[in-house]
């Protein structure tokens, strides 16, 4: 693109940041009205200004919290306790089925460090402490579809003879009209909600989403939760062990 350098062009950045004085604002706005290239620049840089808003200002504080390290000590104590508990469990396991335990550890290792998307962090599993009590029978599972790249973590909470479904979905193509489907053991497919995948500026990728839905499926009959689009294409299926 061959365009001349305008004096005003370099003011577009501070203009979208909102730090110019009134005279300068008027100057930029008058110029932008007549200059298509600068109009584009305004919208491009405004996207960046919006993106900056995703980062909280506290992100720029460094160092440990002021006022001593009681919080650190408390955390370290808890880690020691959890580790001791985990070691105890491991010893028991070792006695019964050492090979199986090792296989489990191996699998966990590859699940974290391997896969199609090596940088993405895994969804964090439910923690046994410091979270509200979980209704009995709640199941949490996640899966990544290697073909579509779609990822989902679901939590299925039993109600009387139906289920609440909470799903966090990412990696879907923007613009898709998607349905969250609860699959029964008999093959029945019950929709639990639908949405349209948004586009995440500035990357243009599909927006991740978290959804709360429900389905009239008996908790004991739930076999899987899936995401499909309106033409029936399945993006990801998360099997739920009984």
């Amino acid at each position: 693109m061959n365009r001349q350098q305008h004096d005003e062009e370099v003011l577009i950045g501070p203009y979208v940041l909102g730090v110019l004085d009134d005279d300068e604002v008027r100057r930029v706005e008058a110029h932008v009205r007549d200059c298509g290239a600068c109009r584009q620049e305004v919208s491009a840089l405004r996207e960046m200004e919006t993106a900056l808003g995703e980062v909280p200002p506290e992100a720029f504080l460094d160092g440990p919290p002021p006022g001593g390290d009681l919080l650190l000590q408390r955390t370290l104590r808890r880690v020691r306790t959890e580790r001791a508990r985990a070691l105890g469990r491991r010893r028991t396991l070792a006695g019964i089925a050492a090979a199986a335990a090792l296989a489990g550890v191996f699998w966990a290792g590859t699940a974290v460090s391997g896969g199609a998307d090596p940088v993405a962090l895994p969804p964090v599993p439910p923690s046994p402490t410091a979270t509200p009590p979980v209704p009995p029978g709640t199941r949490v599972a996640s899966a990544t579809d290697p073909a579509t790249g779609a990822r989902m973590t679901v939590r299925v909470t039993p109600a009387a003879r139906w289920v609440r479904v909470h799903a966090a979905v990412a990696g879907l193509p923007p613009g898709e009209r998607c349905t969250l489907v609860v699959v029964g053991r008999d093959g029945s497919r019950t929709p639990a909600g639908s949405w349209v995948v948004g586009e995440a500026p500035p990357t243009g990728k599909g927006k991740g989403v978290s959804l709360d839905g429900s389905a009239a499926v008996d908790p004991s009959r739930v076999q899987a939760v899936e995401v499909e689009n309106d033409s029936g294409r399945r993006f990801v299926s998360v099997p739920l062990p009984a």
């Binding site: 950045g13 940041l17 070691l87 974290v112 993405a120 923690s127 966090a168 978290s210 959804l211």
Partner: protein
């Protein structure tokens, strides 16, 4: 794989060193953020403790991931707080056995992607560009104040902030190139 075979003491000191390092480097940011969101210092400390524990559990991802560690931690803090509020809000409904609520899409998950991505992109700017954006945007300084703090003329503050935003845009464009490493955690955690 070394997990169960490691001597206990060595494993222990590594764990503690990791948590200590994360706390020393990011503790202030995490606690200040949690305090603002919860409005309560004691609750904020609980939240930060939980976030540090999660960092410890996911040490592999934390150490090997290419995104911003601080972005990941801040995201974890926000998720813990959101999930606590949600759990509180949901409980009376559980008792009442309320009818099915329509699914609600939240921006929560999107924001998760972006804090990590944007902070990662800021990390890759030159210090001059990062500083000018930090002053003007995050510290909400005027051009004159930023000029004073940074020791440069006001005109330079303006032009530098312009080029800083352009450079930021460049780093995002790089991320989008095929084969470029993904920056984002891309996934909201579910705490049951």
């Amino acid at each position: 794989m070394a997990g169960p075979l490691w001597p206990r003491s060595r494993r222990g000191s590594t764990d503690e060193a990791l948590i200590r390092a994360v706390y020393e480097e990011h503790g202030n940011a995490l606690l200040a953020y949690a305090t603002r969101l919860t409005g309560d210092r004691a609750t904020a400390e609980d939240v930060v403790q939980e976030a540090l524990i999660r960092a410890w559990r996911h040490a592999d991802a934390l150490v090997n991931g290419k995104g911003s560690v601080r972005g990941w931690l801040l995201t974890v803090v926000r998720n813990i707080i959101t999930d606590r509020y949600r759990a509180k809000a949901a409980r009376p409904a559980e008792i009442a056995g309320s009818p099915a609520t329509p699914p609600v899409a939240e921006d929560h998950a999107d924001a998760v992607v972006d804090t990590v991505t944007v902070l990662g992109a800021l990390d890759r700017l030159s210090p001059e560009h990062r500083d000018v954006l930090t002053e003007l945007y995050y510290r909400e300084r005027s051009v004159a104040e930023a000029a004073d703090t940074l020791g440069i003329p006001a005109g330079t503050v303006k032009s530098r902030s312009h080029y800083a935003l352009k450079a930021l845009r460049e780093t995002f464009t790089e991320d989008q190139r095929p084969g470029a490493p993904r920056q984002s955690a891309g996934f909201r955690e579910v705490t049951a």
